[in-house]
């Protein structure tokens, strides 16, 4: 029964994506109400199934439910390969069983104390936001597009939260990244959103690259991408890994890099405020609540690695702390509500990362959930700022001038740092983008010269 519920959790957003995707591809004109009703139905089904799992787990004290959709790709160890087995519906067979394949990509989902709260939170917030958006985007030309992206996002979030293998997590992670970048560039008739969307996308790609390398190394080291395998016999968060310390550090650093990109930790923080280009509800659910926490989620998921390596944990704490200081300063000079909330989110995300680094497991989880709900509410209410501010002034009986106690030149320096957002973006441009494009251009020139020489053109 629980397996059925587990399948339902994953299936409902997948069906939604298929529905919206196909209707978009076929260009069938579908009304706004159909879109919002479908979303509501999918979300409530998924949510009900997830709650069911939660209740069952609480009652039976079963702390881990695994749902496997079988191997989607299987490359045997032997030289002759029959690649690409069709997606099987076989359920619940452990892939570890008999002959160990060279590589296999298993679609497997795991419901445990980490993923179930995350899945429930995702459904609740996405559901609320879709209800909000169905009125907020009424009559907008991009209504259907918005809901299509939202369904992709929902599927991505559910896949990565409930992922039982590192590959599944990566699959969901990619969907989240893609839909995020597309929603940042939602208003593609203006330049700003497109430029910023591209920036978000590039940083996600960097993070993805690190993730992919990390996942491959992990595969190489532990023989499979299963989290349950990785965690040995223990159930989250009590898993233990038996991989050499050095390798743990290496793989961990790659994952940390990926998490930093996704959660906008230093030095990638610049994209977070820039991502506030889409419609208000998408900013709320993506950058206030869900997608920004995905990096922290990844760290929680691979927490057995952190437990194994104190150095890695130290790095996590350090990165979180640096980001926290940076974000706290930048947040203080923002004069618009969305940037201000973006940095406020970043502060909390970085504190959550610090908590993870310090070895807490349940605390960051609670913190993530609380923060996501509160921040979504704040972002959704962002347009009320003027009214809220006014009623606050009325209640207080006037405006109080805020003055800094800091000495003038120091204050100026700090203000400048905060106003320039630490110049993180330009530093990335300078030390990553420039050399990178220069190298590409150089190879381009080289290739041209080479082909010209080959074809005998003298130029």
């Amino acid at each position: 029964m629980l397996t059925f519920a587990g399948i339902l959790v994953v299936l409902s957003p997948a069906v939604l994506v298929a529905l919206f995707g196909i209707s978009t591809l076929l260009r069938t004109p579908v009304g706004e109400t159909v879109y919002s009703r479908c979303t509501a139905a999918a979300v409530s089904t998924g949510l009900a199934a997830a709650v069911w799992i939660l209740v069952a787990m609480l009652m039976t004290d079963d702390r881990q439910v695994e749902v496997s959709l079988g191997d989607w790709v299987r490359i045997p160890a032997a030289a002759e390969q029959h690649a690409g087995e069709p997606p099987g519906g076989a359920v619940g067979v452990s892939p570890h069983a008999l002959d160990e394949p060279h590589f296999h990509f298993t679609m497997k989902f795991m419901f445990d104390r980490l993923s179930v709260p995350f899945v429930i939170m995702t459904f609740v917030l996405c559901g609320v936001i879709s209800a909000f958006a169905s009125r907020y985007l009424h009559r907008d030309g991009g209504f259907q597009r918005f809901f299509l992206f939202l369904s992709f996002f929902l599927l991505g979030m559910i896949l990565s939260s409930a992922a039982g293998t590192i590959e599944t997590l990566f699959f969901g992670w990619e969907l989240v990244g893609l839909s995020s970048a597309l929603l940042v560039a939602f208003f593609h008739d203006r330049r700003g959103p497109v430029v910023n969307g591209l920036r978000v996308w590039s940083i996600y790609r960097l993070a993805d690259a690190a993730f992919l390398i990390g996942a491959m190394s992990l595969h190489h080291l532990s023989g499979s991408g299963d989290f349950s395998g990785l965690a040995g016999q223990g159930v989250w968060p009590e898993g233990r890994v038996d991989i050499p310390q050095q390798s743990v550090l290496l793989v961990g650093c790659l994952f940390l890099f990926a998490a930093a990109g996704k959660s906008a930790l230093v030095p990638f923080s610049g994209w977070l405020p820039r991502a506030m280009e889409g419609p208000t509800p998408s900013s709320a659910v993506f950058y206030g609540a869900l997608s920004v926490h995905l990096g922290a989620f990844l760290l929680l998921r691979i927490s057995p690695l952190l437990d194994r390596s104190p150095v890695l944990s130290g790095l996590v704490v350090l990165l979180g702390a640096v980001t926290c200081v940076f974000a706290a300063m930048a947040a203080r000079v923002q004069s618009d509500i969305k940037s201000s909330l973006a940095f406020a989110s970043l502060i909390q995300v970085s504190i959550i990362v610090v908590e993870i680094g310090l070895g807490f497991r349940y605390l960051p989880l609670v913190h993530i959930i609380g923060h996501a709900c509160l921040r979504t509410l704040q972002l959704v209410r962002a347009p009320s700022l003027l009214k809220d501010y006014n009623s606050m002034i009325n209640a207080l009986g006037g405006v109080a001038e805020r003055r800094s106690a800091l000495e003038q030149s120091r204050y100026q320096r700090m203000y400048r740092f905060a106003m320039n957002r630490g110049n993180l973006d330009s530093i990335l441009d300078e030390f990553v983008v420039r050399p990178f494009t220069a190298a590409l251009l150089w190879s381009d020139r080289l290739e041209r010269r080479w082909t010209n020489w080959l074809s005998g053109e003298n130029k």
Partner: protein, 1024 residues
């Protein structure tokens, strides 16, 4: 851009130029006091269509709808062929002129406007030529006999040329048809004919139109850089400036205030950018050095501007346009700087004098740095700024737009030739003069001209509907209740049209009036639970009086307790808000209380109505006690001011104001026992543009306090005595009440009811029943415009629907405000009573019989009403025409910034104006004023008031006068009044408003409501 170097211009001249050009910047101040002003006020001294053409060039915004949109309007019947013909006749005169002996000019234009199958713009041309079959097939719409004739004549010509062997013609024919085979199918012939026509048009036009076209003006350095490198320096500059301006203008949102904020724009800019910072963007690395002069004070901002300009080698003529374009490039922020500089009374943190100049100085420095950097990057350091400019100039000179325009005109002529059956031979043999005439006629009627004529036709259609309806109604008798039981004075606002109509429908013994919603009582007002004064009067007026609301003495203790409770709550919410955005307390709050946020989150979004009720119930515990008074009077001789002694009006001021208020609307006799002054406001959630839904005549605030103040004055026996001395006799049994109509929720609030004499209580009780019914009907009518309300919605459900809209966090259209406004009537209500005006008309009451012979009253009414209504109308109209350009774009990505306005997304220019969600059903037409007076009086008023004259004579609004004694209407066209011929045809008559609009969402024609026209008899009286 001229390359001649000029001596450094006088600083004073530049400073004056900046001040002058600042008039072009957006006029919106803080968004919390939304100002409805003509976005093109700076060009009001020009005739409207010249101004629009200029504005198109200056601002780069569209002056009219797109041609395809007008075509849609034609298809929907909002423009008819007769309308277009009529406009063409007005434009071209009655006399018919022939073009090249082929066609009448009149007919040619009509074809160009309505009949071309492909009304393409220049940009679409190549696509249409490549994709559509238009060069091989005739248009589908050409008449059959033309088709036959064209084919026959072409066949005939082909044979003739083949036999005669005329070389030029033969050569031409050979280019589309090789000849040879005898039998040519009809389809082939069609293709040959179309091909021939195209070739002929193209050949002849290229020889004719060699003159047109000049290099597009490269005024700013940025244009040159963009043309050469393909990258926009403005993007770099605006990234810095938007962020900086937001921080500089911030009214207190950011926790850290900008250093040196109070020392001026340049000083603050120097504090932030005057020193190098690690990792600074490359193009900004030269900034500290470039700013040195300004920061040290060695160079004044104006001198710095002069230096920058001379660095750009700008001539005197170009200098002005350069300054203008540099100011307008980031016009939202620049405009807000200018507004806070010139109207410091409207903001908490104003800008010192000279801020705009300092902004320009900084901007020009940044412009130079960005341009230099992009050029260096693009050319690998090989090129200088001068080279780039030269290159850009030569590039644009080379890019001959000539060829494209020639093809464009050829395409237009090709379509015309097919439509009117001009054969290839006819065109081939047309003389040189004939061609230049033909081409000239086509060129003169360019895309903007066509759109202008279509726009005029659109306006004509609507104006005729309105004028016909008014003239028909005016033939019917005046409807005024003999002994009105209640008189209700509402705002002039178009939203109140339906409200008044329903009041009269529900209870025919009610008489209604319209007046500007501040009721001639301009004041700064502070409510009992408010901390600051708000100006309650039109934006153009600066009030001279301060009024506060006090809780009555007997409830003072409870007031004090509740104020303390509010302060505690306020401090808590402030702590919570800033705490949730900080680190340590934020962590505690989010981790501990965060999950609780799901309650308001789910509640507000899924059950908005329930949550709103909970919220208001809870709010009642801390709201100030219900019984309050306005502190209205101050002793004679004490100067007014925002301090305790200066609060209130003197008795004389009260008498003057109340007299003016009553005389303006002609309410000087026949007072009913109850007279209500009903201001209006609105309420909605989560909407930065909320102020745009409040009363425009109260600077975007609710106007309840004005009506309340006026009622209190008029209830004062001393005021009444003084008024009586001035011939304004208010009977003792008349009682005045102030009220507030919430146009979003359809709720009515009355003030100071505890003072109501017991003799009037029963009357008020009955009135409330009437009001409740009228509000329900009004809500029902409003619902027809909301897609999310079913068309068959009943009254109660409608009321619930509009209330839910205003309580919904996700609702971007709580109401439609003055959207769809098109007419403004100034005159006696009795003349229009019973006319269904579809909430499209502003209505001001005015009785000419009570005016002086030289129309003093009308002059002072129009002095306010014309600019105010014109401003509202043009803001809606221009925002609807080009919402991105004139309005603020879609609300969805709006981001409240600096507590002053909104910008798009993460960082952009400030976006003043109305959002798309506020204007999406607006029909963009200029307002039609219909004034009940004579043409002579109107002309006199125009002569006396230059502002009114500019608006009417330059055509910023349309004007007509309705004769006070008859149904004669005269329209103001081309500087004089002309008699209007109403079209015959019956105005529809219905039994009730509902019957007319039921089941329809779109704009409706006007109609008569029959029962309303009956002389009022003994209907259900309000007397006990």
């Amino acid at each position: 851009m001229s390359v001649v170097s000029e001596p450094v211009p006088e600083a004073a001249v530049v400073a004056a130029e900046i001040r002058e050009l600042a008039e072009l910047l957006p006029l919106q101040g803080p968004i919390t006091a939304f100002a409805f002003l003509n976005p093109l006020q700076g060009l009001e001294h020009l005739p409207v269509f010249d101004a629009l053409r200029q504005a198109h060039e200056i601002f780069g915004c569209e002056p009219y709808l797109r041609e395809s949109e007008y075509r849609d309007l034609v298809a929907r019947g909002r423009i008819t062929a007769e309308d277009v013909q009529e406009i063409l006749q007005q434009e071209l005169g009655v006399e018919r002129r022939s073009v090249a002996g082929l066609i009448e000019l009149h007919e040619m234009r009509l074809s160009q406007l309505l009949k071309l199958v492909y009304p393409v713009s220049l940009n679409e041309l190549d696509w249409v030529l490549a994709e559509a079959d238009s060069l091989r097939r005739f248009q589908s719409t050409i008449p059959l006999e033309h088709r036959e004739r064209l084919l026959n004549e072409t066949r005939h010509w082909l044979q003739m040329v083949e036999t005669s062997g005329e070389s030029a013609a033969l050569q031409l024919i050979r280019s589309v048809y090789r000849g040879g085979r005898r039998e040519v199918s009809e389809q082939q012939m069609e293709s040959i004919c179309a091909g021939l026509l195209w070739k002929i048009c193209l050949q002849r036009l290229e020889s004719v139109s060699a003159a047109a076209g000049s290099a597009a003006g490269l005024i700013r350095l940025r244009d040159a850089v963009l043309a050469v490198t393909g990258q926009d320096p403005d993007e770099l500059v605006h990234d810095v400036l938007s962020g900086f301006c937001a921080g500089w203008l911030d009214q207190g949102y950011a926790q850290w205030q900008m250093p040196n904020r109070d020392s001026g724009f340049v000083a603050a800019f120097c504090a932030v950018y005057g020193q190098s910072s690690t990792g600074q963007r490359r193009w900004l690395r030269g900034l500290p050095e470039a700013l040195q002069g300004l920061c040290r004070g060695a160079v004044s901002p104006v001198e710095s501007i002069c230096q920058s300009l001379s660095g750009l080698a700008v001539g005197d003529a170009d200098r002005r346009s350069l300054i203008r374009q540099s100011l307008l490039a980031l016009r939202g922020w620049a405009g807000m700087l200018w507004q806070t500089e010139t109207r410091p009374d409207r903001v908490f943190r104003s800008s010192p004098n000279g801020t705009l100049t300092e902004f320009l100085a900084v901007r020009l420095i940044l412009d130079r740095l960005a341009a230099e950097w992009l050029i260096r990057e693009h050319s690998g350091g090989r090129k200088t700024v001068g080279d780039t400019v030269l290159q850009a100039v030569s590039q644009t000179a080379q890019q001959q737009p000539l060829e494209l325009t020639a093809r464009y005109q050829a395409f237009v002529l090709l379509q015309l030739a097919e439509l009117h059956g001009w054969s290839p031979q006819q065109l081939f043999e047309l003389s040189e003069e004939g061609w230049s005439e033909l081409a000239g006629a086509a060129v003169a009627f360019d895309q903007l001209e066509r759109r202008r004529v279509l726009h005029l036709a659109f306006e004509q259609h609507l104006s005729r509907q309105a004028l016909d309806a008014v003239s028909r109604r005016a033939t019917l008798p005046l409807v005024v209740p003999q002994t009105p039981q209640v008189q209700i004075v509402t705002c002039i606002d178009a939203r109140e049209e339906s409200f008044r109509r329903y009041l009269e429908e529900v209870c025919p013994e009610i008489e209604t009036f319209g007046n500007a919603g501040f009721f001639c009582v301009p004041m700064y007002y502070r409510g009992a639970a408010e901390a600051t004064f708000t100006a309650l009067c039109p934006v153009v007026i600066r009030p001279q009086n301060w009024i506060v609301e006090d809780v009555v003495y007997s409830l003072e203790d409870s007031h004090r307790q509740r104020a303390v409770a509010r302060r505690i709550l306020g401090r808590f919410s402030q702590r919570f808000d800033s705490g949730s955005r900080s680190s340590v307390s934020g962590a505690l709050l989010t981790a501990l209380l965060g999950p609780l946020a799901t309650v308001p989150l789910l509640g507000r979004i899924l059950f908005p109505h329930f949550m709103a009720q909970m919220h208001s119930t809870a709010g009642q515990f801390v709201a100030p006690p219900a019984v309050t008074r306005l502190r209205l009077e101050r002793p004679e001789g004490v100067p007014a001011g925002p301090h305790d002694d200066g609060i209130g009006f003197t008795l004389t001021e009260m008498v003057t104001m109340s007299e003016r208020s009553l005389r303006d609307i002609g309410l000087t006799s026949g007072f009913a026992p109850l007279v209500i002054f009903m201001g209006h406001g609105s309420s909605c959630m989560n909407n930065p543009h909320e102020s745009a839904y409040h009363c425009g005549a109260c600077s975007g605030s609710p106007g309840g306090a004005n009506g309340r103040a006026l009622a209190a004055m008029l209830n004062d026996p001393r005021v009444r005595r003084r008024l009586r001395e001035r011939g304004l006799d208010i009977p003792d049994e008349t009682w005045f009440i102030g009220g507030l109509h919430n146009t979003a929720t359809e709720e009515i609030t009355f003030f100071d009811l505890e003072l109501l004499p017991s003799s009037h209580v029963g009357r008020l009780r009955k009135l409330r029943g009437v009001l409740a019914e009228a509000c329900q009907r009004n809500a029902q009518e409003r619902c027809r415009r909301f897609d999310s309300a079913p068309l068959e919605i009943d009254q109660q459900a409608a009321l619930l629907h509009v209330r839910e809209r205003s309580e919904d966090l996700a609702q971007t259209r709580p109401e439609y405000g003055n959207c769809t406004n098109a007419v403004c009537f100034v005159g006696r209500r009795g003349r229009l009573r019973g006319l269904f005006l579809d909430r499209r008309s502003f209505m001001m009451s005015y009785d000419r019989a009570q005016d002086t012979t030289d129309s003093m009253i009308l002059a002072r009414i129009l002095g306010a009403v014309i600019p105010v209504c014109e401003g509202i109308n043009l803001l809606y109209t221009l925002s609807a025409i080009d919402n991105r350009g004139w309005g603020s774009g879609t609300k969805l990505p709006h981001n409240v910034t600096s507590l002053l306005g909104v910008m798009d997304g993460a960082s952009s220019d400030l976006r003043p104006g109305l959002p798309w969600q506020g204007v999406d059903i607006h029909e963009p037409v200029r307002l039609l004023f219909i004034i009940e007076t004579t043409a002579e009086s109107m002309l006199q008023i125009m002569d006396r008031n230059p502002n009114v004259a500019a608006i009417c004579r330059n055509g910023w609004a349309q004007l007509a006068v309705l004769d006070p004694q008859s149904s004669r209407i005269q329209r103001f066209l081309n500087g004089r009044f002309e008699d209007y011929e109403p079209r015959l045809g019956q105005l529809s008559e219905v039994a009730a408003s509902r019957e007319w609009y039921a089941g329809r969402r779109d704009h409706l024609p006007f109609a008569l409501i029959r029962p309303q026209l009956a002389v009022v008899g003994a209907h259900e009286a309000l007397v006990e």
